[in-house]
Amino acid sequence: MTTHLVGLGVLVVVGAVYPLVFPGALTIAIAVLLFAGWATAWDVLGGWNGQVSLGHASFVGLGAYVVAIGASHGIAPWWALPLAAVAAAVLAYGWGWTTFRLRGPYFSLSTIAVAEILRLIAINEGWLTGGATGVFIATLPEPFGIDLFSRTAQFYLALAFAAGVIATVIVVSRIRFGYQLRAVREDEEAAMAAGLDPTGVKLRAFMLSAALTAVGGGLYGMVLAFIEPHVIFSLLLSVQIALTSIIGGRGTVWGPAVGALILVGAGEAFRTTFAQANLLIYGVLILAVVLFVPRGIVGELVRRHVRRRYARRAQS
């Protein structure tokens, strides 16, 4: 627990001074922070609760669209973001209510289908979403004279988002709900025998995960300022979010964040070599992780640390 809080403190302090030290590298830092937040939010459902979703781009897209459509109707982002979170939770409730009767790969498959249907709606319902061309965010209000289009302001918002999601997961991992999540992940029948309602637990995990993801999606909308349904609802974004978390380490507090740092960093490093094919690195890394470190990077480190501690305790 203390380790996690220290980690969170380090993240906030490093984040606070980062724009002063590297003012030229803000865009990539925003990408790292957004992916860290999304992957950590994904992990609430995918890691702690064991339900692999390949449709989380839906919530990113939903958040971005709520902020963009809100901006065009004069609704400020600080109202639009909570609205996006609520809308995502409601969507997750309906989605989970219909699909949580399915388990394992069947659930993953149904998430792809639902995300595809949402993408088709975003493309075809032009009166609401601007259709296939997408929507622009032309103006944003300036609270206290802060320009929300500036990269520095967006960086701090993304930092607050990532830190907030990680803090949420630290809390969740300690409370009763966190233990329920893990009980359902390990064995649904046993959890049911212990008096839990597995579907209810999964639904709450999905709603929390969706709401958090949508907040990040709203920020992403502000960063992009131009939202295209093909990009924001793409299966690739869903896959990227899931893989970030899995490569970093599912069901760990810091795994998804570390995964985001590694994957966005690697994507950037190979951008010149592979051009648009930089998802190649995701493919290679996920294969390596599945074959050699199935717990993910942080998961493996934690396991080794725990084993060493037990060994030391056994000797003394």
């Binding site: 699909t99 289908a113 190649l280 290679v284």
Partner: protein, 294 residues
């Protein structure tokens, strides 16, 4: 045209598209039936087949269908290799691992094509691409007919292999009970490699058959095909080869009828909605025999 001719035309299109979907789905369902692995790279193998035909046609100038001579054995060997190098190592891991590994393979194939061939859509120029045959006012596309024939041939061949040969018996035994099959002396590791090879080969055949109709693009298309294949197999019943035909035809007809009688922009969505409904209310598929709920 009178209403019923339009309806017949739509049904004919739907059934023919369904034949294509069935061809894409049958390899996936074979792999799932035997290995219990959902192969996320299946669609990318289809795309690989398309590019094989494109390159064969562009470099050598032969008819794209002739590339099957090379693509079939190469596809089979590629599949076996992938199984040996990747899936065989995680055969006892939780089923999610295989799903993630094939997802990784899918990303690698798509992006490797993007790196080597480039991202612009590619296709082949053949004289018969737009030929149609008219039967009583109903027009059917030549390429779709060929694809339908290929589906029937592939599935008949697969049926003969599974039910008339010793290897087929071993495959069915492995599908039914891996441990039991091992106890009677079947090398299930070899069977898994053969089955994945067959699945990959069927995907490649589907890709070659389809190329005169479609433009091949490296990354997105694989995912689209994988999703179609899932829809087909779930509609018919996961793991049942014969049901893949039925599932494909249901998907084709639902899409075509939905597009012509409801809103055409949502063509893809009708198939997906049918897929979700089937997953929810009949997870064993319309024609699946297993009654166990997932």
């Amino acid at each position: 045209m009178t209403d019923w001719v339009i309806l017949l035309q739509n049904l004919a299109n739907g059934v023919l598209m369904g034949g294509v979907y069935a061809l894409v789905g049958v390899g996936l369902t074979l792999v799932f039936g035997v290995m219990r692995t959902i192969n996320f790279a299946h669609g990318d193998f289809v795309v690989l087949g398309m590019y094989a035909a494109v390159l064969f046609n562009a470099l050598l100038g032969f008819d794209p269908y002739l590339s099957l001579v090379i693509a079939v054995p190469v596809g089979f060997l590629t599949g076996m290799l992938v199984e040996r190098l990747v899936l065989a190592r995680i055969v006892d891991a939780p089923p999610e691992s295989a799903l993630l590994a094939t997802l990784g393979i899918s990303l690698i194939i798509g992006n490797a094509i993007l790196l080597t061939v480039g991202g612009e859509p590619r296709s082949v120029q053949v004289a018969y691409a737009s030929t149609t045959i008219s039967i009583g006012g109903v027009h059917v596309s030549m390429v779709l007919l060929v694809a339908g024939a290929a589906t029937v041939a592939a599935i008949a061949g697969l049926y003969a292999l599974l039910h008339r040969t010793e290897i087929g018996r071993a495959i069915r035994a492995t599908a039914e009970n891996r441990l039991g099959a091992e106890l009677v002396g079947i090398d299930t590791r070899a069977i898994h490699a053969i089955v994945f090879g067959l699945g990959t080969m069927l995907a490649v055949v589907a890709g070659v058959t389809l190329i005169p109709l479609l433009f091949a693009t490296p990354t997105n298309m694989g995912a689209v095909f994988t999703l179609k294949a899932f829809v087909v197999t779930v509609l018919g019943g996961l793991g049942s080869v014969g049901a893949a035909i039925a599932g494909g035809i249901v998907l084709g007809v639902v899409e075509v009828l939905g597009a012509s009688y409801l809103a055409s922009e949502y063509r893809e969505a009708y198939g997906l909605a049918a897929f979700l409904l089937i997953l929810l209310f009949r997870p064993e598929g319309l024609f699946g025999r297993t009654v166990k709920r997932v």
